[in-house]
């Protein structure tokens, strides 16, 4: 992202801020254990978990801040937080 003077930004530019860089722990999804309840998608404060055509839930690591709420709330314990190597 090239800087604009004074941080003036046209609409949509907040998507340029890849908040995934804030992450220390990343959620790892186990699709075998997942019951497809969708709780992770509902609870994600960043709105960055989507369901694929194959019905699997996947996070967008560009924006996932690693808060761990999805792992905490998953009724099947199918999401684990692992320290990320950067």
């Amino acid at each position: 992202m090239a800087l604009n003077v004074g941080c003036a930004a046209p609409p949509g530019r907040s998507t340029d801020n890849k908040t995934g860089s804030w992450r220390v722990f990343m959620p790892r999804f186990d699709s075998e254990a997942c019951s497809k309840c969708g709780m992770c998608q509902l609870i994600c404060p960043e709105g960055c978990i989507r369901q694929t055509d194959a019905k699997e839930f996947v996070p967008d690591y560009d924006y996932c801040k690693g808060c761990g709420l999805c792992a905490e709330e998953c009724p099947k314990a199918a999401i684990t937080m692992v320290q990320e190597e950067k």
Partner: protein, 390 residues
């Protein structure tokens, strides 16, 4: 151009009128009040086509100006002391958003204890906010720096807010002859403001958006670069002003009788007028004394200052502010810190004098005593400390 005798505050208000701000928002505070009173009258009389926004605080006054400049208007405000302190947050935002404005500071001490009298602690305390800071020696310069201030601030190489500082009461309430530009002259020098970005519903932008750790440092770099570019822009605009109107402001530091000077005084603001008179008397007595006056504190003209002080054996800095806690066991003012930084590596001693705080008069005799103290190597001290009341 006609020479008129008028109060400093009125002269500033008349100059501001000729700069044609479209929005004026300010909150009255001593000793700035006469400026904004006069402007209110000028607007009410239909002599300036501006929206005059009355607000409940200085925080709101400058915030209204942020919105006005963001929308593409030329804006104006004025304040001092506690009022400027209340603007602290807005000052940093305005510079970071790169919104140009000229705001007059009628310099006054900061409480506590409450003092309505002059020193330069208020604007000095906003040193790091990203604003350009000019200091006027007399009312003519205060007036001219408003035209120059807008032109430099609005230059797309700069785009930074600007404080034009002049000493409260000493200049703001003093009647002096002032050459006032005609409206035609002012218009020819200062064209309308052309914003880089502006708030426009047809083409929306957000300003001053948050920056993640990957970008924040770069925004600070950009603002610092704009400050550094302002040095050349100021020279250029100051020269143009001189070519048009005969008063040249291309020098960021003014050297007064510095030829063969052994003792160089460094100061800024109205104290320099007294200092020049003291120097004239000392020169008549054969003392080799000169003055290097800072017209501009931000950006700090380090290289110009270094060149101006090159021949001096010692430097005596008059600081009408104090950086509390700095300097180890001795007191230190902000100007001396900058002068020492500029002269780093040189063997020339820099002696600091914290002087004239809270309206304490500084007279010709005092300047002579400072010079005598500096010759004796006695510096980095308060000048005129009344130890009997301690």
């Amino acid at each position: 151009m006609a020479l008129e005798i008028m109060e400093g505050s009125i002269a500033v208000a008349q100059a501001v009128r000729r700069c044609r701000p479209q929005v004026v928002s300010a909150y009255p505070i001593t000793p700035q009040t006469h400026i904004v009173e006069a402007l209110a009258e000028i607007v009410a009389n239909g002599e300036l086509a501006a929206d005059y926004i009355t607000v409940e605080s200085e925080f709101s006054a400058l915030s209204a100006c942020v919105g006005a400049v963001a929308a593409g208007s030329r804006a104006y405000s004025a304040t001092t002391s506690q009022g400027l302190a209340l603007m602290f947050e807005v000052c940093f935002n305005m510079a970071g958003m790169r919104l140009p404005i000229v705001m007059t500071i009628a310099n006054r001490a900061l409480g506590a204890p409450l003092s309505i009298w002059n020193d330069q602690q208020d604007s000095i305390s906003l040193r790091d906010a990203g604003w350009l800071q000019f200091y006027a020696e007399d009312n003519q310069e205060a007036v001219d720096l408003h035209y120059i201030g807008y032109k430099v601030a609005e230059d797309h190489r700069v785009l930074l807010p600007t404080m034009v500082c002049f000493d409260g009461f000493i200049l703001s309430h003093t009647y002096e002859p002032v050459n006032m530009l005609t409206q035609e002259e002012a218009d020819a020098f200062l064209p309308p403001f052309v914003p880089k970005y502006r708030l426009d519903a047809a083409s929306p932008v957000s300003m001053g958006m948050y920056a993640t750790p990957e970008y924040y440092l770069e925004f600070r770099y950009e603002t610092d670069q704009a400050q550094k570019r302002a040095i050349e822009v100021l020279r250029e605009v100051g020269r143009e002003f001189g070519e048009r109107f005969g008063r040249d402001y291309s020098a960021l530091v003014e050297s007064y009788r510095m030829e063969d000077a052994e003792t160089a005084i460094v100061a800024m603001g109205s104290i320099c007028g007294t200092t020049k008179d003291a120097i004239d008397e000392m020169r008549a007595e054969g003392k080799k004394v000169g003055l290097v006056r800072l017209r501009c504190f931000r950006p700090f003209p380090s290289e110009d200052l270094k060149a101006a002080l090159a021949g001096a054996s010692r430097v005596a800095v008059l600081d009408k502010n104090i950086v509390l806690g700095a300097g180890g066991s001795t007191p230190r003012g902000a100007v001396a810190l900058e002068v020492r930084d500029a002269l780093y590596g040189s063997t020339t001693p820099v002696l600091d004098y914290v002087i004239g705080l809270g309206g304490r008069d500084v007279r010709i005799e005092d300047i002579k005593k400072v010079v005598a103290l500096s010759e004796a190597g006695d510096g980095d001290r308060f000048y005129g400390l009344r130890t009997e009341v301690l």
